[in-house]
């Protein structure tokens, strides 16, 4: 059961080196030099609807940017939200008003914050096209 320590050490060192080289090779071989818009223009709708945008915002943003945002008293949020300058994105009006800011923050990957997963290329393109189409929405019917 127990092999010679030096032999075992060598084999384990080889295994560690193999794993690390593999990890480095994987990270280093990242490919692609075009945006999703250029690679596959039909990957998302050419004219995204507010419902599509709202679904993304609801899933990715509203856990923090809800109606309780904007104050340290947590507002109506029953989570412990401690941010005093966070704009809420719960209503159509709020999303339309903050659309350009939202787009900027998701494109530079500063939102969602921390180590939470960033938006997918598809989600970004949906929001980008919706903003470029003047943000059509029930609360913004004639942009």
């Amino acid at each position: 059961m127990h092999k010679a320590p030096t032999r075992v050490l060598k084999s384990q060192l080889r295994a560690c080196v193999f794993l690390l080289v593999s990890a480095g090779a994987l990270a280093g071989c990242a490919s692609g030099d075009k945006t999703l818009d250029a690679v596959d223009p039909n990957a998302v709708a050419l004219n995204p609807t507010f419902d599509q945008v709202n679904a993304i915002i609801h899933n990715k943003c509203v856990m923090c940017h809800d109606s309780g945002s904007g104050g340290e008293d947590n507002g109506g949020n029953d989570n412990l939200i401690l941010e005093d300058d966070m704009a809420p994105f719960e209503t159509c009006t709020e999303i339309v008003a903050e659309a350009e800011s939202i787009l900027e923050r998701i494109q530079d990957n500063t939102m969602p914050p921390g180590a939470m997963p960033r938006l997918s290329s598809e989600d970004r393109l949906i929001i980008q096209r919706w903003v470029e189409n003047n943000k059509p929405a029930p609360c913004n019917p004639t942009p």
């Binding site: 490919s31 692609g32 960033r118 290329s121």
Partner: protein
């Protein structure tokens, strides 16, 4: 152009430093590889024939579901009580290392040895004195057809390893600190396993999915609780072969506790989500040492959650998965494949392939007590246009059980979700600790650093989770 992340170099350094330290102790499955009662059973330290052995390297020994995760068996629960906590462990034979600081806390040699035998119940007369330590208070009855001579008796002597009825629970509360701070309920599962006759089990796991938008949402949302698992199974046949039918998650890759890893999320296998559940059949064996699992299933539209309670709520597509490999005492290797075929408007086709491995250096040479595990996945899925996108994902983890109930860990996952698209890859480094203070109570805290392609986007947060389970 995409860049090679400097984080790889950092991870390399950390891994190498840990590998050289030779001061740590492996945990969980790796511990199982060096515990004597993986192979031998009390009271006489017998060794069952290979076809009847239950070993902790196999998911199905500690979990009711042979694919792993979820409700624990009576044996798995006892093993957890005996090996994981800082205090109040149960005595059991364990060829383990004394990990505590001198004079601090309880020594890890929970069961001292006399000659080669652990000090425990060596015969029926001694057994009552140890009854409390090996009893499972959440298990009742004996299935019809089970006798003391039935194969697969478990390894812990008088423990009621295969009760007729067993219940369990798994509750998690989380806090996340970054630009904003969130405290939210993450998960609450209540398990029930009914085992009326030998070879037959019905498993029901009702999960209340935590809503990060708040406690009231979690309680009020009618879709929050749902059948996470509901299947009938015939099992405990030679070489731990089994077949099950119902709602489950197909066996695929490493069954990681962290459902946020990209190896799961990129391939619709995030076990926290109802939409990863399928309706199907799975058959295989999880023996010592080879394992093989194959499943055929139907699933719900990718863009919709299935009905919480109607497990037959599926759509037009179908899928199949294969998982095979070898779990030895000091290492394991496996490979998985999964394909889905469904209309484009229901999510389209996917093909996913994985290879994974683990290493338990302790088995080969004591005092190299680390656990290493990793997985590499690649696959294709269809964009809404019908064109394929190719994904490449990896995961690696090093665990170091520094003291009783204290595991320090480093994990790194990296994903390129679309190989054709620029600047969509990201890597996440986690450094943290898992403290199992008392049996069934674990505090898991991690600093997480996400590295993304855009210069301003990389960021750090702190995640902590209180995990209560029985």
């Amino acid at each position: 152009m995409k860049r090679t992340h400097p984080i790889v170099a950092i991870v390399a350094g950390v891994l190498l430093a840990l590998a050289r330290s030779a001061l740590a102790t492996p945990q969980y499955a790796a511990q199982a590889g060096r515990t004597c009662d993986s192979c031998h059973i009390l009271p006489d330290w017998d060794t069952p024939k290979l076809a009847h052995q239950k070993r902790n390297m196999s998911c199905g020994t500690c979990h009711v579901d042979p694919a792993g995760g979820g409700m624990r068996t009576a044996s798995g629960r006892y093993y957890g009580r005996a090996t994981l906590p800082m205090i109040a462990t149960s005595p059991r034979p364990q060829d383990d290392w004394d990990r505590n600081f001198p004079g601090v806390g309880r020594r890890d040699k929970a069961t001292p040895y006399e000659s080669y035998l652990p000090v425990g119940p060596k015969n029926l007369e001694q057994a009552p004195a140890y009854r409390d330590s090996i009893d499972d208070k959440w298990a009742w009855g004996t299935p019809k057809g089970m006798t003391p001579d039935t194969p697969f008796p478990g390894r812990h002597f008088k423990l009621n390893n295969d009760p007729m009825l067993r219940i369990g629970g798994d509750f998690r509360f989380a806090a996340l600190f970054s630009a904003s701070s969130l405290v939210f309920p993450m998960q609450a599962d209540v398990h029930t396993a009914v085992h009326p006759v030998h070879h037959a089990t019905l498993l029901m796991n009702v999960g209340a999915r935590g809503q990060s938008s708040g406690y009231s949402d979690t309680i009020d949302d009618s879709h929050t609780p749902y059948f996470r698992e509901l299947f009938a199974m015939t099992h405990e046949w030679p070489y731990q072969s089994y077949a099950k039918a119902g709602r489950f998650v197909p066996a695929f890759g490493l069954k990681l506790d962290d459902h946020t890893t990209r190896t799961r999320r990129e391939f619709e296998l995030d076990t926290s989500l109802p939409e990863t559940r399928v309706l199907g059949v799975e058959a295989g064996f999880v023996a010592a040492y080879p394992f093989f699992q194959a499943s055929y299933f139907k699933m719900k539209n990718k863009f919709e959650e299935p009905d919480p309670w109607d497990i037959f709520d599926v759509d037009d597509g179908w899928g199949t998965a294969f998982n095979a490999g070898w779990r030895d005492l000091g290492w394991s290797f496996g490979a998985s494949a999964l394909m889905r075929r469904r209309p484009l408007d229901q999510g389209g086709d996917t093909d996913t392939y994985a290879v994974y491995a683990s290493l338990n250096p302790w088995y080969f040479w004591q005092n190299i007590p680390l656990t290493l595990q990793g997985e590499i996945d690649t696959g294709t899925s269809q964009r809404a246009s019908g064109l394929d996108q190719t994904k490449l994902v990896m995961y690696g983890e090093v665990d170091w059980s520094a003291w009783n109930g204290v595991t320090l860990l480093t994990a790194y996952d990296w994903a390129d979700p679309d190989r054709d698209v620029v600047d969509d890859e990201s890597g996440r480094l986690q450094i943290g600790a898992q403290l199992t203070v008392y049996p069934g109570v674990t505090l898991d805290s991690r600093i997480r650093y996400l590295s993304v392609a855009t210069p301003t986007g990389s960021d750090t947060d702190f995640f902590t989770q209180l995990h209560v389970w029985f």
